[in-house]
Every structure is written in structure tokens, then in C-alpha cells.
């Protein structure tokens, strides 16, 4: 079987949900499908889309989520449906759903992941860390990524996991994951995939911390809202530090001037989702009082991306698919960038399929403002991928 036929990619730009699914199906349908994965705009009529999906792929495992933008053969898009199908000859997949993320317990995550791992092993006897990976799609507004990510990866052990937080086109109303024929809110879907192809996880970001530091002096950790920075209203103080007026704060500014925390010498971006009318800031990730934030500035995103894909290609050759979880703030930056076309070309030439997220998961960690994902090569699996 040709490696090129192991994965089929599709991208429908139709704004009608049923038409989009039909077009998508035409692109990716195959007789022996292990898994169908899709990413769709939340502007679609999600009930219609779900129903059409059930009709399009009966008896087939389909997982997906809503987004803040879709990536596929059509490039960087909004209000579209992108995805891929995986052949049963090249892949085995199992998936499970965690509902009610607000009540999520660490122990629940452990049991869930182990159960899923056993299912994968019973389906594919040789499944293990060498030939398997996990893909997490999680509600992007549940603010539960940290404990979920941590507990799932911990239970999966050496089977590496990547993922993205579902989006809703920057409306910040509600995000959904798709599992077993319908969309779920406040939920996460974990899919474990075992493959005979080589693969490589990657994570790339393009920020360096500056010397300017701020302290979170008041915050609501359950809603990820920072009310005060340096003892002053958060939005105002952040704006002052980056040198603008608070009223000019918008996602573009957040993208250009993210804040980072330094852990063990490494910077982790803590992205700001929005400035609220009460002068507070909502984040895409966990924050708390007493946290020291540094203002960061962007470096060359294009060069950074090229480097990341060069490293992928050096290890597994030309990918037949790159599953990418690309932060919404990156998309905002890219859309303003003179390098936009070249960046899109890189994604196209690496056969990227994915979405713009409200956060990314890389192994056990929930991160922001990165492109995180998994590249699947077309050669035979290597004995020791790492």
C-alpha cells in the first residue's frame, strides 16, 4: 500500500454545514478507515454538521473540534472544515471522551487514559511508546487544560501526547469537541493512534523574554482572570508596561507582547485572551497571585517555523501529514505579517492539517502561543524514534 494513500486530507470552504461535510467526505472517504479527524468553524450549524457527519461516516470513528481557524489543503482559513482520514492498514485508533470537565479529578484522568491505552493494546498487540501517540482535543474555555493534560500524560507514560484547546472564532462563548456523532461542551476527547509510520512530536515558539518583570497581585484562578498587576488594575498596568493606552489593547497587542513565566530557565508563554471591561485580563492558561511575569517579544516566526520543519524532515523525512495545533495569537500575527504567504506555503508543503487553538498541549504541559503537533512520515517506522 502506498504511503501517500494512508492519509487523505480534505478541506471544504463551504459555509453550509451539510455541504461542507459532503465535500469533506468526498475528499477523505475510503473503504478501510481507522479514524476520521476534523476541525470546523463554530459558525457552522453544529447540529446539522454532526448529523451529516454521522451519515457521511457511519460505523467509522470520527473525532473533531471547533476552532478559531482551520488549517488544511486550503491554507489558513476561517469558516471552513478541514480534516483527514487514516487508513486501517496504516493506523489503529481508539478514542474516548471526558465529559463535565468542571468536575474533573486527577484520578479520573488516570483511569480514563489507562483504560484507553488497554483498548489500543487489545486492538493492536504491538502498540507501545515507539509506534503510538495521543491526540487531545479539549474545550478551550473550560480552563481545565492543566490538570487534564498533566494527568493524561502521566497515565500514558512514554506514549507521547499532543493536543489543542478548541476555539470558537474568538467569540469566547463556548467551544466543542466532537465524539461519537455529536458535539460536546465542557469535554475533552483523547484519541490514541498506533501506526507503522515514523512520527515526531514538535513544538515551536518564537519569543524571547525581556528584562521587564511584573507581579500578579490579584487574580481569580478558576476563571484565569488577572485583576491586578503590580498592585494596579491589570489591563492598565500591562498597557503601561508595553507602552500603550489600555483602551488600545486588542488581541494583536496580546500576540505581539505576550507575557511569559520562567521555569527552570525556560520561558513559557502565558497568553492573554482578552481585556475585560472591568480592567482585568483573562488568560488562556493557569495563572495565580504572586506569579512573576516577564514581557516577551517576538523573534522571526518564519525562520523559526522553517527550522522546526527542517528538524522534522531530518528525522522522519517528508511528512505525509502534519497535525498542527496553532495558537490563535500566532494566526493573528501571521495574518499581519509580510511573510504570511511563505508561512502558508510551508504548512501546505508539509501537508499540514489542524486548527487555531485557544492553547496547546505538549506532553504533560498546557502551553500558549506555540505551534505544537505531530508529523507523520511515510517511511517504515524506525526502531527508535525519540
Amino acid at each position: 500500500m502506498e504511503a501517500g494513500h494512508s492519509i487523505r486530507r480534505g478541506h471544504s470552504l463551504a459555509t453550509d454545514a451539510r455541504q461542507a461535510v459532503r465535500e469533506f467526505r468526498a475528499a477523505v472517504a475510503r473503504p478501510d478507515t481507522a479514524l476520521v479527524l476534523f476541525f470546523c468553524s463554530s459558525e457552522y450549524d453544529l447540529d446539522a454538521l454532526a448529523e451529516e457527519m454521522r451519515l457521511a461516516f457511519p460505523e467509522t470513528q470520527v473525532v473533531g473540534c471547533t476552532t478559531a481557524g482551520e488549517i488544511g489543503p486550503g491554507g489558513y482559513r476561517d469558516h471552513s472544515l478541514a480534516g483527514a482520514s487514516f487508513s486501517a492498514a496504516g493506523f489503529s485508533a481508539v478514542s474516548g471522551c471526558i465529559d463535565n470537565l468542571q468536575g474533573f479529578e486527577i484520578a479520573e484522568g488516570d483511569a480514563f487514559a489507562q483504560d484507553l491505552l488497554q483498548k489500543l493494546e487489545s486492538r493492536e498487540a504491538g502498540a507501545g511508546a515507539v509506534n503510538s501517540f495521543g491526540l487531545l482535543l479539549i474545550d478551550g474555555l473550560s480552563a481545565r487544560e492543566e490538570p487534564v493534560t498533566r494527568s493524561l500524560q502521566s497515565a500514558l507514560g512514554k506514549v507521547p501526547m499532543v493536543g489543542g484547546s478548541a476555539g470558537d472564532g474568538e467569540r469566547f462563548g463556548s467551544t466543542h469537541v466532537y465524539f461519537e456523532g455529536r458535539f460536546h461542551a465542557h469535554a475533552a476527547v483523547l484519541t490514541l493512534v498506533s501506526t507503522r509510520f515514523p512520527f515526531k512530536l514538535f513544538k515551536t515558539q518564537h519569543f524571547v523574554a525581556t528584562g521587564t518583570r511584573m507581579v500578579v497581585t490579584a487574580a481569580d484562578i478558576t476563571t484565569r482572570i488577572v485583576r491586578e498587576i503590580n498592585g494596579l488594575p491589570a489591563a492598565e498596568e500591562y498597557a503601561r508596561v508595553i507602552g500603550i493606552e489600555a483602551r488600545d489593547l486588542d488581541p494583536m497587542r496580546f500576540a505581539a507582547w505576550p507575557v511569559v513565566v520562567m521555569i527552570d530557565g525556560t520561558n513559557y508563554v502565558r497568553s492573554i485572551q482578552k481585556a475585560n471591561p472591568d480592567g482585568s485580563l483573562t488568560f488562556f492558561c493557569a495563572i495565580e497571585e504572586g506569579l512573576v511575569l516577564r514581557v516577551a517579544k517576538g523573534v522571526d516566526l518564519l525562520a523559526n517555523l522553517e527550522e522546526a520543519f527542517a528538524a522534522v524532515r531530518a528525522e522522519i523525512g517528508a511528512p505525509q501529514l502534519v497535525l498542527g495545533c496553532d495558537c490563535i495569537l500566532r494566526k493573528l500575527e501571521i495574518q499581519q505579517s509580510p511573510d504570511k504567504d511563505r508561512i502558508e506555503d510551508i504548512l501546505l508543503s508539509n501537508h499540514a492539517v489542524g486548527f487555531n487553538t485557544y492553547g496547546e498541549q505538549y506532553q504533560g504541559v498546557h502551553v500558549n502561543q506555540t505551534l505544537t503537533g505531530i508529523a507523520i512520515g511515510s517511511g517504515a517506522i524506525k526502531s527508535d524514534h525519540a
Binding site: A143, R144, E146, P147, T149, R150, Q153, G211, T212, R213, M214, V215, V216, T217, A218, I221, E228, N230, G231, L232, V261, I263, D264, T266, Y268, C285, A286, I287, E288, E289, G290, L291, V292, Q363, G364, V365, H366, A386
Partner: protein, 391 residues
């Protein structure tokens, strides 16, 4: 800590109080967090942070383990390579190498197996004495005992080796012993010196032959003049010391030139060989018989007086004259003349004695050949032709 003061912080007291309150908030937030971070059950952020730290640790540990594995692999590979090199070296060695433990061969190289004609797996069941010829087993057994007991650390000896096919080979063995744990291990270098021994024997034979050629006449096998000169003075000195006589007989074939002319040089050579053999055949061990010139032969007879010398000369003359020499289908009849002189009476030196014998020979020729004459001093003419010695 905030790095900049609020611009509002003027000297106004109210503003100053506000600034103090702000800074206090910052300090309290930092203090609270510092205390919180010691709690086991953390916030979402601390979950994130500990996951990062944990992953960092796992990554570092994994990298360490992988590096250790790589080092281990490299060491194993190096060891394997080095052992392969060692094996290659040992197996390509021109000498046999053998290790004996508990009376058995525990290691033999390819050359060792080749020397004794065994396959590698056969040799494992054997011990040192199995490759030694029966005659040399006591010798080998004794050296093994000495090496095992520590009496001898290094030995070098030769023995007759016994190949699998029963053939014997000459073996040179350089052995040493090594203490490995509680065991004493014998390590020996074995060389097949059969060829070398044979070559040595050949060299010895060649040297013998060369030595022989330097003192013997190649045609007749008799001594040559060189040997005569070396030994005559010695014999005369001894005779003088012991006051014993030494007689000399100079013999010469009669009309030898005509034999050559008539029958050819090969026939002449045959006649010379025959005459030489005749002289040698009747000589005592102490006699020096040599081919003195072309057809001249000299016999030096230590301890022999004139009468016995004349008798010997007569025997030779008679024997030669009695039997013609067979040369192919031809019978060649030859005679010889002989002159006898006695030391010290007829000459006190070798040269003088030979000259006297030569003079007597000349006289015999003059007298008609095929006869024996004793040297007669010119001062005593009455002795010049002693009829009693003439036949």
C-alpha cells in the same frame, strides 16, 4: 518586583500612602505565593509548573540514560572490535598459541590446530601430552610439572610433536605460567621447527661436505695436498717426540699419459680412482693417503718402519699389476712405481721426507718401472740399488 515606580508617586502624602499600599500588595502577593508553593496540593498553575519540572527531569534523566546506553554500546563495540583484532592477530599468528588449564587445552589458535592437524572443536578435548610423541612425553611432562608448581616461570624446550595423523614434527615451545584466580594457567607459544631442523641438518651436511672438499681430492676421495701439509708436520712432530719412525711411500702410475691418450681422459680418471681406492682400501686408520699430484699418490705411515713400508708398497704394486682395471667393456692393464723413504733417517722435515720418497720413486722409474725402491742417500752409492728390494 516592579521595576518602575508609578509616575503618580509624587511627594504628595496621599499619593505616597497609595504607593506604599501598592508595593505592600506586591510584596504580599509574592509572599503568599512563596508560602503556597510549599503546599502539596497545588493550584492549576502549580500543576503546570510541576509538570514542566517533571518533564524537564524526565528529559534530563532520559538523556542521561540514553547517553549511558550509548557509552555502554560504544564500550561494548570497542571491546568487540579489540577482541576481534586480538583474535585476528592471534589467529593469523605464525606461531601456535595454546592455553592449558586443568590439563586441557582451553584455547588454541588456528596455527596451533594447523601444526597438529586437528579441527578447532577436536582439540578442545585434548591435553598437552596428546600432541607429544611417546618418546618425549616424560620430558614434556616434567616441564609441565615445573611450570605448574612454579619452579619454572618461563621455559623453552624442543620436543617431537605428534600430529593427529600420527606423523611427527619437531616442536619448539616457549612457555610461561599465569595465575588466574586460584588456577594456574599455562600459556605456550608453539613453533613447528621441522622444516628448520631439516634445514639445519642440511646446512650441517653442506658444511661437512665443504670441509671435506677442502681436504679431499674430489676425483679419488683421498686427502689432498692441503690436508697433507696440515697433518704431516703434526705427525712428524709426534713421531719425533715419541721416537717412532714415519715412512712415506710415493706411488706413481707408469705410462699414465698413454692410458689417457689411448682410452681417453674418462678412462684415465677411472684408473686414478681405482688406484686411489686401492691405496685407501689397504690403509690403516692412522695413515694419511693423499693424491699428491696428477698421477702421484703419497702414503704417510706413522709408526711404520722401512720393512713394513716396503711390504705395503709391494702389496699395492702387486695388486695393481695383477688385475686389469675394467672400464666399460675394456680391461686396462696398468702398473705403478713406488719410492719409500723413512723419517727421520731419510729426511727430518716433511718436505725432505717427501723429496726422499720422490727421489726413490724416480729411481724406481729409472730402474724400469713397476717396482719399489727405498731411498738411498747419494753419499752411499752402495745403497742406491738394493737388489733385495727389487722385483
Amino acid at each position: 518586583m516592579p521595576e518602575t515606580l508609578s509616575p503618580a508617586a509624587a511627594m504628595d502624602e496621599e499619593l505616597l500612602r497609595a504607593e506604599v499600599a501598592r508595593l505592600n500588595k506586591v510584596v504580599r502577593a509574592l509572599m503568599d505565593r512563596a508560602e503556597r508553593s510549599t503546599n502539596v496540593q497545588g493550584s492549576d498553575f502549580s500543576l503546570f509548573q510541576s509538570a514542566v519540572m517533571l518533564e524537564e527531569q524526565v528529559r534530563a534523566r532520559t538523556a542521561e540514560v540514553e547517553a549511558a546506553l550509548r557509552r555502554n554500546e560504544k564500550v561494548t563495540r570497542d571491546l568487540r572490535e579489540s577482541e576481534a583484532k586480538f583474535r585476528g592477530l592471534v589467529n593469523q599468528s605464525l606461531v601456535g598459541i595454546v592455553i592449558v588449564e586443568d590439563g586441557k587445552f582451553t584455547y588454541t589458535n588456528a596455527k596451533f590446530n594447523e601444526i597438529f592437524g586437528y579441527a578447532a572443536d577436536e582439540v578442545k578435548s585434548l591435553g598437552p601430552l596428546d600432541v607429544v610423541a611417546e618418546s618425549d612425553r616424560p620430558l614434556v611432562e616434567e616441564t609441565l610439572r615445573k611450570r605448574l608448581s612454579g619452579e619454572a616461570e618461563h621455559v623453552r624446550y624442543s620436543f617431537r610433536g605428534l600430529r593427529k595423523n600420527g606423523a611427527q614434527v619437531d616442536i619448539e615451545c616457549h612457555g610461561s605460567a599465569m595465575q588466574t584466580g586460584r588456577k594456574r594457567t599455562l600459556i605456550s607459544l608453539i613453533m613447528d621447527v621441522t622444516e628448520r631442523t631439516r634445514a639445519e641438518r642440511e646446512v650441517l651436511a653442506l658444511q661437512e661436505k665443504l670441509r671435506d672438499e677442502s681436504t679431499h681430492d674430489s676425483l679419488t676421495g683421498l686427502y689432498n695436498r692441503r690436508f697433507l701439509e696440515q697433518s704431516l708436520a703434526r705427525e712428524l712432530a709426534r713421531a719425533e717426540r715419541e721416537r717412532t719412525p714415519v715412512s712415506a711411500i710415493m706411488g706413481d702410475l707408469d705410462h699414465f699419459k698413454s692410458v689417457n691418450d689411448r682410452y681417453g681422459h674418462l678412462a684415465g680418471d677411472e684408473v686414478l680412482r681405482f688406484f686411489g681406492a686401492l691405496i685407501k682400501g689397504r690403509a690403516r686408520a692412522s695413515d694419511i693417503y693423499c693424491r699428491y699430484g696428477g698421477e702421484e699418490f703419497l702414503l704417510v705411515l706413522p709408526g711404520m718402519d722401512e720393512q713394513a713400508a716396503v711390504e705395503r708398497a709391494e702389496q699395492l704394486r702387486g695388486a695393481l699389476a695383477a688385475a686389469p682395471i675394467a672400464y666399460g667393456s675394456t680391461q686396462i692393464a696398468v702398473t705403478a712405481s713406488f719410492g719409500v723413504a723413512v723419517f727421520p733417517r731419510d729426511g727430518v722435515s716433511g718436505d725432505a721426507l717427501i723429496e726422499a720418497a720422490d727421489n726413490a720413486l724416480y729411481a724406481a722409474k729409472e730402474a724400469g718401472r713397476n717396482r719399489v725402491l727405498v731411498f738411498a742417500k747419494p753419499a752411499a752409492p752402495s745403497l742406491e740399488a738394493p737388489s733385495s728390494n727389487r722385483t
